[in-house]
């Protein structure tokens, strides 16, 4: 095993180009477990810790450019306003020690369906900034997950940052685990309201081979909200609408039975989380609307 220690992003890209099998290591929270348990013996480890750029973020007009290695602790503490869904997801990641090391780049690189960040990224809307010596490109998050622990990266590419749409409305995130802390998701659900476009987006984790959006559920809800004039009248979402939305979210799952939970439970739980997060976000939206109207 060789340990490559690039001092800059350019050096890292060059190293990855030269050694496409090199395994990038940043927080180490996935890679080191595999090494410690003898599940993986990469030929090269490519350390990204010395590349300061990866630990920074910029808040732009439309979106946040989040460096791939920004630790979850900082996301949950400092980006709660701009990225509320991701901040909530960050807070569910493992333990304080892990949140101090791990970042979104690692979740994307591993592309496990159980990665905590994915549902929040899917719901918010995001693009992955991937780069190689050949150049840089932005991969829409919807196209990023290609299979179980597989993603759209080319062998010579590294993740530099994620561009996540700034929240224009309430966002929520829930995760089911069989422990009250430090637990891998049995399943997870992210929901974002986008009042500017009058749409909702969802993200489901650990309930299909890849993280997925419940597109049919989104379409149903978009139409129902539009038809009922909910965005304007700020009424409570009809229970039958919430119920149907939840059912469609469950239907978007394609889960398996495993040691963490049954497929049937995962479908059920995603439905419950969909209904609850819709209630929480919508109540929050109504609250802000009322406040804004009161102020106007």
């Amino acid at each position: 095993m060789d340990f490559l220690r690039p001092a800059s992003w350019e050096e890292a890209l060059a190293a990855k180009a030269e050694h496409p099998t090199a395994v990038p290591i940043a927080g180490g929270t996935d890679v080191m477990v595999e090494i410690n348990f003898d599940h993986r013996r990469p030929e090269y480890l490519l350390d990204l810790n010395r590349i300061g750029d990866l630990y920074e973020w910029e808040v732009g007009e439309e979106s946040v450019r989040l460096g791939a290695s920004v630790p979850y602790t900082r996301i949950m503490e400092e980006l709660r306003a701009e990225l509320p869904g991701l901040a909530l997801a960050a807070h569910t990641v493992a333990s304080p020690q892990i949140r101090n090391r791990g970042g979104v780049g690692g979740n994307l690189g591993t592309a496990s369906p159980a990665g905590d960040a994915h549902p929040a990224l899917l719901a918010a809307g995001a693009e992955v900034e991937a780069e190689s010596v050949r150049g840089s490109r932005r991969i829409p998050i919807d196209d990023f997950y290609t299979g179980v622990k597989r993603n759209a990266l080319a062998p010579d590419e590294l993740i530099r940052a994620v561009h996540i749409k700034k929240a224009d409305g309430p966002q929520q995130y829930s995760k089911v685990g069989t422990r009250n802390a430090m637990v891998i998701a049995v399943c997870a659900f992210g929901l974002a309201l986008h009042p500017e476009t009058r749409t909702v987006r969802t993200g489901i984790g650990s309930a299909a081979p890849t993280p997925v959006r419940a597109t049919a559920a989104e379409e149903f809800l978009n139409a129902a909200l539009e038809e009922g004039g909910f965005w304007d009248n700020g009424k409570v979402v009809t229970p039958s609408v919430a119920k149907r939305f939840a059912e469609l979210c469950s239907a978007a799952c394609n889960p398996i039975d495993d040691v963490r939970g049954t497929a049937s439970y995962r479908r059920h739980a995603v439905g419950v989380m969909a209904r609850r997060t819709l209630t929480w976000t919508w109540e929050s939206y109504r609250g802000t609307r009322r406040t804004n109207e009161g102020a106007a």
């Binding site: 909530l88 829930s174 995760k175 089911v176 009250n180 802390a181 739980a269």
Partner: protein, 794 residues
């Protein structure tokens, strides 16, 4: 803390500071908080090698061939050993039955069985070399349950059994069977107005001690070996290790290294023999440290169980009869299975008065992971089932569940189903009363001015509910655990105590082979020495095999038995010192001859408090030292047909009240409070006592809602050997645990004490389950209960 009913003849405390009854602090505390305390995995020796074990990848197979050539040729590798390299004819070991191969011979019987061992200059070299060993398996069908184990054509897990249970078991794939029959169940059933039945399942729990199996074996110039090891019983290890190495026991010198928890998981050998074999083969010190993955294969687990119970009661709420059948899965090797069967059967009705009983308990041989000792040892599985039954029956009778238990609670003088009289206090009803009397925690504690605090809700930080679907439930349970080794086992301990004057101060040294695994035995030994010898300065000698056996740190027995041995040795030292004093100073004061003399504050004093001499003056340059064995009252085996016999020496009782909040839609549970009341006889160290009760309670909570080793029934392979998927409670899963300690002395035991470590693990689980049933209205016949069981999505 309540104190009731101490007989007058029992020492209640000490006038020497730091004696029994005080919450003195741990002697190893400072080293443990500075990181200097040397655990078994911290051992280091110049020029040492690393050992590694190659384990079977399948559960049941014939070994066709093993090829170690490539592994041996790996640079940095010093030795590769298989069964063929074992030095003597003794190639098996075992606690009671020597059925466990040191290295697999021709066959593997469970997933993760040791097949070959490697020593190399770096752990990675050893791992890579082990990966190069080619083992060809011819897989056999797996036996995973009672039906497959006892089928007429079942493959025998162990052929040609010669152990002493084979004569009375109905099938060679049954390790041991113990019936307990008393009265006439058929007749009693006629008298029952209500009968309830239930089928219960207890999942496989792991001890999950944090310090992995590890140790260092150092070859000695005399051809022997020095082993630094974490274990629960040095001398039991020694008895099993030495014959395999072909060494006399005095050439295998064992020293207890720091032990990172045990809970039963270190009763059996793990890497001890392997490290010694490699050290003797290479002539170099060999260190072996399991990682967590390997640890799940490297020790036995708590027996999973299937239990069928029938309980009857009369209209006025008196138990008529209990009939039950307990099937424990012992896995591939016997380990402690026979004794677990003895406990499960003899304590199978719980702490209740019932005259007509028909119990049968068996342990199976299967291809599942071997199971053996874990805190609570057979009594845990039974308690889970009989307490569920007691709730059911109370409901059938239409009586309050606690009142129903109290009406049937045993007390001093009660006859157990084994015919044994409970001859010390058994405050079962009182413990239930106390735990029920504690104030309930406030409702809806998650509500705050800033909205719901998810940390206080089911799901915690995962943000699954802000109060939706959350229902509170309350449940009660009580249990009975035997203390000490039962069924006629010669359960003794040994203590060597030395009293001398050092630099003008009297100093006591206490030397035992007791394994300090965290329980605080070392703290208590120093307290006993202070109390008995009136000396403040006590040194606890490291535990090793240079002193006689202390027995196991299990069965809640060490404070009783090794504590008893220390007390006894101190008393004998005191007699000798007083005799020295009489010889030296007797002529100067008549009280030397006439008064009852004590040692207090470094002086010889009369019972009236008059000081006669300083201990240092009595001792002069002489040291008083002696080593003695000490035994508790003997027990006897249970009759193999009827289960009758005075099998136990002491009992321990605890009761719990669990308060839970369940997110009924998602099936997530938060335990809000787990209150415990326990009778401890005499709290030698109240701080340690409460710590034991809280720790035991939490392990019971773990198996109620999350802990389970999952074995694939098709392959008998373990599916979750890691801390990612075998979950134990975090600090966010563990509630406040108020403890009410009752002290009713057992006049047969030193200071009236009662073994305490296990009882809280028993009743905690059924109390939590009862609370979840109370919240959800579901029947819930298995533990751990998982979200799918609470949501109909299993």
């Amino acid at each position: 803390m309540g104190t009731t009913g101490l007989p007058a003849n029992i020492t209640q405390g000490s006038r020497t500071k730091g004696g029994i009854g005080e919450s003195t602090l741990r002697p190893d505390g400072t080293l443990k908080v500075t990181g200097e305390f040397a655990y078994s995995s911290d051992m280091w020796h110049e020029d040492m090698l690393w050992g590694h074990i190659l384990r079977s990848t399948v559960a049941h197979a014939d070994i066709v061939s093993i090829d170690t050539a490539e592994a041996l040729a790996t640079p940095g590798v010093y030795a590769v050993m298989t069964y063929d390299d074992l030095p003597t004819e003794v190639k098996n070991y075992g606690l009671e039955i020597q059925d466990t191969p040191v290295l697999a011979h021709g066959k593997v019987r469970h997933h993760g069985e040791p097949v070959a061992i490697v020593a190399a200059d770096h752990p990675e070299t050893a791992r890579r070399a082990a990966a190069k060993i080619k083992v060809e398996y011819r897989e056999l069908p797996v036996i995973t349950d009672e039906a497959s184990a006892t089928a007429p054509d079942a493959i025998l897990i162990h052929e040609n059994r010669t152990d002493h249970h084979i004569g009375h078991v109905p099938h060679p794939n049954i390790v041991h069977r113990q019936p307990i029959v008393r009265g006439d169940v058929a007749e009693a059933r006629e008298r029952a107005d209500f009968i309830v039945e239930g089928e219960y399942v207890f999942g496989m729990q792991d001890q999950a001690f944090l310090g992995p199996e590890s140790g260092l074996a150092v070859p000695a110039e005399d051809g022997g070996v020095d082993l630094y090891i974490a274990t629960q019983w040095l001398h039991s290890d020694l008895r099993q290790i030495a014959p395999v190495l072909g060494l006399p026991e005095d050439k295998v010198r064992m020293t207890l290294a720091g032990v990172g928890g045990a809970f039963g998981g270190r009763e059996d050998l793990s890497m001890q023999i392997h490290a010694c074999l490699l050290a003797l083969r290479t002539g170099k010190p060999v260190k072996i440290v399991y990682n967590r993955f390997e640890s799940f294969f490297g020790h036995v687990h708590r027996h999973p169980a299937k239990l069928h119970y029938e309980h009857g009661a009369t209209r006025d709420g008196k138990l008529t009869h209990v009939k039950c059948r307990i099937v424990l899965d012992g896995g591939a090797y016997a380990s402690a299975s026979p004794a677990v069967v003895g406990n499960a059967s003899s304590l199978g009705v719980g702490p209740y008065v019932v005259d007509d009983v028909d119990i049968e308990a068996i342990a199976l041989y299967t291809n599942n992971p071997p199971c053996g000792a874990m805190r609570g040892f057979g009594a845990v599985q039974a308690c889970f089932a009989y307490e569920a039954q007691m709730d059911k029956l109370a409901d059938a009778v239409g009586m309050d569940r606690v009142e129903f238990r109290q009406r049937n609670a045993m007390s001093q003088g009660t006859l157990l189903p084994t015919g044994q009289v409970v001859d010390s206090p058994a405050p079962v009803a009182e413990l239930l009363r106390r735990v029920k009397a504690m104030p309930l925690p406030p409702e809806r504690q998650w509500e705050s001015s800033e909205g719901a605090d998810v940390r206080q809700l089911p799901g915690g930080l995962s943000n699954t509910t802000h109060g939706e679907g959350v229902v509170r439930g309350v449940g009660y349970a009580v249990g009975i655990k035997n203390v000490g080794f039962s069924e006629g086992f010669d359960d003794y301990s040994t203590a060597r105590v030395r009293l001398e004057a050092v630099a003008g101060e009297p100093v006591v040294t206490v030397h035992t082979a007791m394994a300090e695994v965290g329980q605080g035995g070392v703290t208590v030994h120093a307290q006993i020495a202070r109390t008995e010898l009136g000396v403040t300065q006590v040194t606890i000698h490291p535990a090793d095999t240079q002193v006689g056996s202390a027995g196991s740190t299990s069965a809640s027995r060490q404070t009783y038995v090794t504590g008893g041995a220390v007390k006894n040795a101190c008393e004998l030292v005191r007699e000798q010192v007083l005799e020295m004093g009489r010889r030296k100073f007797g002529t100067y004061h008549p009280a030397w001859a006439t008064a009852e003399l004590l040692l207090e504050g470094g002086k010889v004093v009369t019972d009236a408090g008059e000081a006669l001499a300083d201990l240092v003056d009595v001792l002069g340059d002489e040291a008083v030292e002696l080593e003695r064995e000490w035994r508790h009252r003997p027990t006897e085996p249970f009759d193999l047909r009827t289960g009758q016999g005075n099998g136990h020496v002491q009992y321990s009782f605890a009761a719990h009240r669990a308060v839970v909040e369940v997110d009924t839609e998602l099936g997530l549970v938060k335990v809000i409070e787990l209150a415990c009341a326990q009778d401890v006889g005499k709290a030698l160290n109240p701080l340690s006592v409460v710590g034991q009760i809280q720790g035991g309670t939490t392990q019971g909570l773990g198996v109620a809602v999350m802990e389970e080793i999952v074995v694939d029934p098709k392959t008998a392979k373990v599916k979750n050997p890691s801390f990612t998927d075998y979950l134990i409670p975090t600090i966010l899963d563990t509630p406040t645990i108020p403890v009410d300690v009752l002290e009713l002395a057992d006049e047969h035991a030193p200071y009236g004490l009662r073994g305490i470590g296990e009882a809280p693990t028993l009743s905690s689980t059924p109390a939590v389950l009862a609370a979840i049933r109370n919240a959800t209205g579901l029947e819930l016949n298995r533990t751990p209960v998982r979200p799918e069981h609470l949501t109909g999505t299993a």
